[in-house]
Amino acid sequence: MKAFRSSRSGSVTVSALEFIVVPAVLFFAWVYIDYISTTHPFILNKGRYWDLGFFMFMISSILFYLSRVAKGAPLPKLRTIAAIEAIREGVGRAVEIRKPVHFSFGSTGVTLTGTYTGETLAGLGVLGYTAGLCAELGARFIFHMPAVPAAIPLLQGTVLEAYAKEGKLEEFDQKRDLRYYGGGMMVYCAAMASSFMTEGVAMKIMMGSQPTCIYVALEAARLQGAIVIGGTSRWTAMYSFVLTCDYLFIGEEVFAAGAKVTGNPFMISSLASEELGKYFAEALLFIGALLMLVGFEFIKFLKN
C-alpha cells in the first residue's frame, strides 16, 4: 500500500471502502460482459472478454485517480529512484569539468507504434528533464537522434521546449548539438563513439529498447570516464544496461521516472493504477496456484 500513501500527510489516501467498492463494481461489470459474450457472441469478440475486463479495470482505475487529483486529493508518494538523482549529479559534474552531457535512445530505440511506444513517451520525460537541467546549470547538451526520422519533430520539440522553459532557447545550438546520422546501427555507434573521443563526455544517458548498440555507446562513454545512466522496460535488452551502466532504470522504473521527472500530478497519480494492476495480477497468480493445486485447470479457464 506504499503507493497510496500521501506525500503531504503520510496518511493512507484510499479508504478501505473505495478500495473494495471500485474493484467490486468493475468485477460485476466484468461478469456481465462475460454473460453477454457467452450468450451474444456477436456483440463481443469471442475469447477477448478477459482482455476487455482488464482493460476496463485499468482505465477505470486511471480515471479514478485522475478524478482524485482534480479534487485536490494528496498525491501518491513515489520512492526515490537513484538514477534520477544521478542525472542532476552528472549535469553538475559536466559543468565542473566542462564536458558535454550526451543523450540517446539508440539507433532505433524510439518506436512510435507498437509495444514500446509507452517507453518512448516515458523516455521523452527524462530527455526533457535532462535538457532542462543542462539549460539551468549551463552544461552543454548533445542529443544523438535515432534513425527514426518520423520521431525527429517530437524529439527536437522536447529538447527545445526544455530550453525554452528555462528561458535559454538561444543557448542551444541545434546545428551543432542535435545530430542525426541516418540509418544503420553501426554507423550510429561509430558516430557516437567518435563524438565522445573528440568532444568528451561527462555523462551519458541512454534510454530505449535496442540491445546491440548499447555496448559500443555506453562502454565507449565509460572508457572516457563518464557517468553512465540507462534503462529499458524491454527485458531482453535489460542485460546490456546492467553490464554497462552506473545507474539503472530497471523495467517499470522507466515509466515511473517519466512521471517523476515531469512532476505532473496527473501522471504521478495514474501510477497508482499500475499498482492496482499489480495487485490484480498477484491475486490471479495466488488464486490460480491454489486452484491448480486442487486440480482445477485455471489457465485453460482463462484462455477459454
Binding site: L52, T113, A122, P149, Y180, V242, F266, K278, A281
Partner: protein, 220 residues
C-alpha cells in the same frame, strides 16, 4: 498558433483514432459481412505508413546538414575523408536512383559490390569491437565485490558451465544446478519484469489516449 490547434486538437485526434483501434480488437461489428472497424483500422495504418515514410525527407535533410556541420567543426583530413565519402555516395546513389529508378538501383551490381565489399565489412568490424566491449563489461560486473555480485557470479558461472559439455560431464550436478538457475529465479524474474513493464506501458498508453501524458503535449 492557438493552444487548441497545438495541443487540444492533436490530443482529440489521437484519442478518437486510438479508441477506434482499441474497439476493433473487442467488437466484431459486421454489416453485410463487412467489418468496418477492421477496414478503418487498415485505412489508418496505410496513411500512418505514408506519413511515416514522408518523414524520411526530414531525416535526409538532417543527415546532410549534420554531416556538413561536422565537416565545418572538425577541419582535419580524417573528417574530410568521411564527409567526402558521404557526399560522394549520396551523389552516386542519387544519380543511380534517378537514372534506374528505386527498385532497379538496389539490385545494381555496383550497389551490391559496395554493400558486400565495403559496408558489410565495416559493420563486421564494429561487431568485433562490440564483443570486446561485451567481455569487458561482463568481467567488470562479475567481479566479487559484494554479496550481490557473488550471487550473480555463481549463478552466471553455473549457467555458462552448464552449456559446456566438458564441465557437465566432469562436475556432478552441474546440469541440474544450471537448469535450476535458468528455470527458477531467472524465469520468475523475467516474468515479473515482463508483467510490470507491460502494466507500465499500458498505463502510459492509456494516459496518452486521454490526453494526460504531459511529455507529448507542447506547451510553448
Amino acid at each position: 498558433m492557438s493552444t487548441f490547434i497545438k495541443r487540444d486538437l492533436p490530443t482529440l485526434v489521437i484519442a478518437i483514432f486510438g479508441f477506434i483501434i482499441v474497439a476493433e480488437w473487442f467488437l466484431p461489428i459486421k454489416i453485410d459481412g463487412r467489418s468496418y472497424l477492421t477496414e478503418f483500422k487498415t485505412f489508418l495504418g496505410t496513411y500512418s505508413t505514408i506519413m511515416y515514410y514522408g518523414a524520411f525527407g526530414i531525416g535526409w535533410v538532417y543527415a546532410i546538414t549534420s554531416e556538413y556541420y561536422m565537416m565545418r567543426r572538425n577541419r582535419n583530413w580524417q573528417q574530410y575523408v568521411v564527409s567526402g565519402s558521404f557526399f560522394g555516395m549520396i551523389l552516386i546513389q542519387s544519380f543511380v536512383v534517378f537514372y534506374y529508378g528505386f527498385p532497379g538501383a538496389v539490385v545494381l551490381p555496383e550497389y551490391r559490390w559496395f554493400m558486400l565489399n565495403i559496408y558489410q565489412w565495416q559493420a563486421q568490424a564494429q561487431y568485433g569491437i562490440l564483443f570486446l566491449y561485451q567481455c569487458g563489461a561482463v568481467y567488470r560486473v562479475l567481479r566479487l565485490r559484494s554479496m550481490e555480485t557473488i550471487v550473480l557470479s555463481i549463478c552466471g558461472l553455473a549457467f555458462i558451465l552448464r552449456s559446456i559439455p566438458l564441465f557437465v560431464a566432469t562436475i556432478p550436478g552441474m546440469m541440474e544446478f544450471g537448469n535450476w538457475v535458468a528455470g527458477a529465479p531467472v524465469l520468475a524474474g523475467t516474468r515479473a519484469a515482463t508483467m510490470t513493464s507491460s502494466l507500465g506501458g499500458l498505463v502510459v498508453g492509456l494516459r496518452a489516449l486521454i490526453g494526460k501524458e504531459s511529455t507529448v503535449i507542447e506547451v510553448r
